[in-house]
């Protein structure tokens, strides 16, 4: 496992970061973790994660904010629910992961392509009410920077052409959904509530 960003020297326990995480919507579930490791052995993407969910939780409780927030663990989570289903302490691990992703984005810890795609996807959905692949791609490219465009094209060319040939890549945006206005109001209201709850 990549432990390259482990901070040098003795690890000093500090409960400050753990308290910050406990304040998230599902963060307090993290207290219940008894470090059994069932999540790690259940995880489909465990092998490409910097830290297993168990270890990530241990790092959070030890107060290693940098190391935890910069890790790719939560971004590699596919929300398959296996860990949540198996956790003997009933921790909704994927919900905790979502919260951690939110925190990492909000505090500007990550610059992962996965994180950019999350944001691009949401931005498109939030303004259109439906997802338009072209819109997502546009947002993503802008997010990653135009200078990265040749690289992205190079990487995604084959996939893109295949999707196009299968009719999976519409060239025109879809029609707006029914009641888009009300949907947007709901999203706005939810965001307001979240803001309030965060205080």
């Amino acid at each position: 496992m990549a432990d390259a960003n482990a901070s040098p020297g003795r690890l000093k326990y500090d409960a400050g970061f753990a308290r910050e995480v406990y304040g998230l919507e599902n963060g307090s579930y993290l207290k219940q973790c008894m470090q059994c490791g069932v999540c790690a052995v259940s995880c489909a993407t465990f092998k490409i994660m910097d830290y297993s969910p168990r270890r990530l939780f241990a790092l959070i409780r030890a107060g290693r904010k940098e190391q935890a927030m910069k890790s790719n663990t939560m971004w590699m989570c596919t929300s398959c629910l296996m860990c949540k289903a198996r956790c003997p302490r009933g921790i909704p691990i994927i919900d905790v992961m979502h919260d951690l992703k939110g925190l990492a984005l909000k505090q500007g810890y990550v610059n992962y392509p996965q994180a950019a795609l999350y944001e691009a996807f949401w931005k498109d959905l939030a303004c259109r009410g439906k997802v338009f692949t072209g819109g997502v791609i546009k947002n993503y490219v802008l997010k990653r920077g135009l200078n990265n465009l040749p690289k992205i094209i190079g990487q995604q060319k084959d996939v893109g052409l295949k999707m196009l040939s299968h009719g999976r890549l519409p060239l025109l945006p879809p029609k707006a959904p029914k009641g888009k206005k009300q949907l947007m109001q709901m999203v706005k209201r939810a965001q307001e509530l979240e803001q309030k709850g965060a205080k």
Partner: protein, 733 residues
């Protein structure tokens, strides 16, 4: 034949089909001259049992021999009251279910068993219950802590007079000094008041409980129902008679002074859990060094436990106690950072709910090993540890309080060796017994202990028993345990104590031969004062006078017969179990001539494990060698070596002893009976070789009840060996 015997042969359960029943009754009537022999197809049915009852009344039978199933079943059906001796001949499990039907060897086996059974019945006498003057039923409880008070309360509630003795000036013990106790009721998450206040109140008002505080025991003489206890208070002695004893003298925390490596004694802010408990009870949890508030606390679990240098064992309750104390800190300052450094969190059963609760309060658990503790100028501690789950060296800084969870040491012992010595490193910390009961027993003044100094007997099957009849250890003196288990344990011990006085006052034995009315009788005029019986009695039942004459205490006796097996003069016998009786049973076996090539094997099987295993083999219809003749003995330790001589001179080819497992994890009901048998056997081997008899003719095998599948293998293997050795040269003499 003076005795009036009736023989009843059951022909049910395929006995009738497999055996020649008329020939079998001929053995009884013609050969053994038994006046009454009847057959019945369903002897354990109502009609069968009724028939025997009528015969007993009409013919005045004193003894009945039931040739049917194993004595281990239907014992209630074939119980005809205290004035009739019943002898069972096991034709079902050990003959017809394990051997082919209509076979010459099977028939010979059944006939031999019947001969042996009739011989035994002839020699059995009705036991006369042991009675002495002034037998009492009151119960002495030693120790006024949680277990002691619970035992006293329970015994009093059952209507027994209780004398409670406490060394300290007040009752309450260790739990009496606790602030709160861990949850014992649903939802198992909230701290509770300790049960002590209620217990003390109940004991105070009970008219049956007599409390002696500030009192110790100077001496205990006698046996169950006849204990003469001398109490000592302020130099004054008083004595009283007691029926049985519950020993609940508790445990104490391991001496933290030996935990210098964890900073105890060096830094004022390193304290034990007990000290934290005191602080919490007084209402203030502050830094001992300067009285400042506690913002960062570290609990170190397994401090000096599960550590070969200190206590090698787990004290099972320190984890939960520490969780509870972590909540004390959180209760007072919810913002405090509390870390628990553990080896394993052992929160058994419903305590898991409590563990979750403590976690949800924000206490952080770290699996780790403390590597060092240091202090800065302002008395703040720094705890360094190896974080085993992150695999790194880690530390907690600016710690105000370090709490060590020390294990429990039984109050019966003191740890003799200092830590760090070679003996400690070897894991066998020598213990020094603390004077407590001061028994006037030949085998020493205190309860013998098992490993780590906890008094116990047969920890696998009978946790309440000790190796001193009538004395029951309860609570943490017996094994480390929490409050709930302690109270349960004390209740159990109180019931055992009641059982003991009830049985003993009727002259009956206690566990494991519950209700046995016989007891060993000594023909003292032939005693040679060899001390074997006094030395070998596993329960210390036999004292000695100055001339080394044995002084039996029948109420201490568990009727195992180890003394009978030990006695070289064969002067010890029971009314229904004696050396000549078994000797005659051996002589009753018909040994075929050498040229018939049918050797005979006598199997002495312990009635507790080996005999049931043989029965189990029968229940599973596992066939085995037809040369064997099984004799059930009370314990293999009751096997007298003269039986080996009897067998060999009779022309028996081999002798097999089936006894329980011995050693540290012994399974012998009488602690060391099977071990003694093996020791005695090693002595006899030399003699056999000298007499030109191969010592291989006598073999001992350790067998447990689960090993029934091995029975055929063991018997056949031994028979093969005997064929190899050849017939007994004494055959036919």
């Amino acid at each position: 034949m003076a005795k009036k015997i009736g023989v009843y042969i059951c022909t049910g359960c395929s006995i009738g089909e497999a055996l020649d029943i008329p020939a079998l009754s001929n053995v009884a009537t013609k050969e053994k001259k038994v006046p009454l022999c009847k057959e019945n197809p369903f002897l354990c049915g109502r009609q069968g049992a009724e028939m025997i009852k009528l015969d007993i009344a009409a013919e005045g039978l004193e003894t009945v021999v039931i040739a049917a199933c194993s004595p281990r079943i239907n014992y209630d059906v074939f119980d005809f009251g205290p004035s009739t001796i019943v002898e069972r001949v096991n034709l079902r499990e050990q003959v017809v279910w394990t051997h082919p039907a209509d076979d010459e060897d099977t028939q010979a086996m059944a006939e031999d068993y019947l001969r042996m059974g009739i011989t035994k019945a002839n020699q059995s006498e009705l036991p006369v219950p042991y009675q002495a003057e002034n037998m009492v039923k009151s119960i002495l409880v030693v120790g006024g802590g949680l277990a002691g008070l619970t035992a006293a309360r329970e015994a009093a509630l059952a209507g027994y007079q209780v004398v409670l003795v406490e060394k300290e000036s007040s009752l309450g013990g260790f739990v009496g000094r606790m602030y709160k106790s861990a949850p014992s009721r649903p939802p198992y998450t909230e701290l509770e008041e300790t049960p002590m206040a209620q217990l003390l109140a109940e004991v105070a008002v009970s008219p049956l409980i007599e409390v002696h505080t500030g009192t110790t025991i100077a001496k205990i003489a006698g046996g169950p129902c006849l204990y003469d206890v001398t109490l000592q208070k302020d130099g004054q002695e008083s004595s009283l008679r007691i029926g049985s004893i519950v020993m609940a003298t508790g445990a104490r925390p391991y001496d933290a002074a030996k935990l210098g490596h964890l900073g105890y004694g060096r830094y004022a802010n390193v304290i034990t859990g007990t000290a934290l408990e005191d602080m919490a009870r007084e209402g203030k949890i502050l830094r001992p060094a300067d009285g400042k508030a506690v913002q960062n606390a570290v609990f170190v679990l397994c401090a000096g436990s599960r550590d070969p240098e200190h206590l090698p064992y787990c004290s099972s309750s320190c984890c939960v106690e520490s969780l509870k104390q972590a909540l004390y800190v959180k209760e007072r300052s919810p913002e405090a950072n509390v870390y628990v450094i553990f080896k394993d969190v052992r929160t058994l059963g419903r305590y898991e709910e409590f563990y979750k609760k403590v976690q949800s309060e924000g206490v952080i658990f770290i699996k780790g090993e403390v590597t060092g503790i240091s202090e800065d100028g302002s008395k703040n501690l720094s705890v360094e540890f190896a974080d085993l789950l992150l695999g790194e060296a880690a530390s907690a800084e600016e710690v105000d309080l370090v709490v060590l969870a020390t294990g429990m040491v039984s109050n019966t012992v003191d740890y003799g060796a200092e830590s760090g010595t070679e003996e400690c490193a070897a894991g066998n910390v020598p213990t020094v017994q603390q004077p407590m009961l001061n028994l006037a027993y030949r085998q020493g003044p205190e309860l013998p202990s098992l490993v780590y100094g906890f008094p116990d007997s047969h920890f696998i099957c009978f946790p309440y028993e000790t190796r001193r009849t009538g004395i029951y250890a309860a609570g943490s003196v017996r094994a480390p345990m929490d409050l709930v288990s302690s109270m349960e344990d004390a209740t159990g011990a109180a019931l055992k104590a009641i059982q003991c006085v009830e049985l003993t006052s009727r002259g009956a034995a206690v566990h494991p031969r519950v209700g046995d009315m016989s007891y060993p009788e000594f023909a003292m005029q032939r005693c040679t004062q060899c001390k074997r019986c006094t030395e070998e009695c596993p329960f210390g039942a036999i004292n000695e006078d100055e001339k080394a004459n044995p002084l039996p205490n029948p109420t201490r006796c568990r009727r195992c017969g180890v003394c009978m097996g030990a006695c070289p003069e064969r002067i010890i016998s029971f009314k229904n179990y004696s050396v000549p009786m078994i000797g005659n049973m051996i002589k009753a076996i018909e040994v075929p001539e050498e040229d018939e090539e049918k050797p005979r094997i006598v199997v002495f099987a312990c009635e507790n494990d080996a005999y049931p295993a043989l029965d189990m083999a029968g229940l599973n219809h596992l066939g085995y060698n037809a040369w064997v003749r099984v004799i059930s003995v009370r314990c293999l330790g009751s096997m007298n070596l003269v039986w080996v001589a009897d067998s060999l001179s009779k022309g028996i080819d081999g002798i097999l002893l089936l006894g329980c497992k011995h050693g540290d994890d012994y399974q012998c009901h009488f602690i060391k009976g099977s071990e003694l048998a093996e020791t005695r056997l090693s002595k006899v081997s030399e003699t056999l070789n000298r007499l030109q008899l191969e010592s291989d003719r006598v073999r001992m095998v350790q067998l447990s009840i689960m090993d029934y599948d091995k029975v055929p293998g063991i018997l056949d293997d031994f028979a093969e060996k005997l064929v190899e050795i050849g017939p007994n040269p004494y055959k036919g003499f």
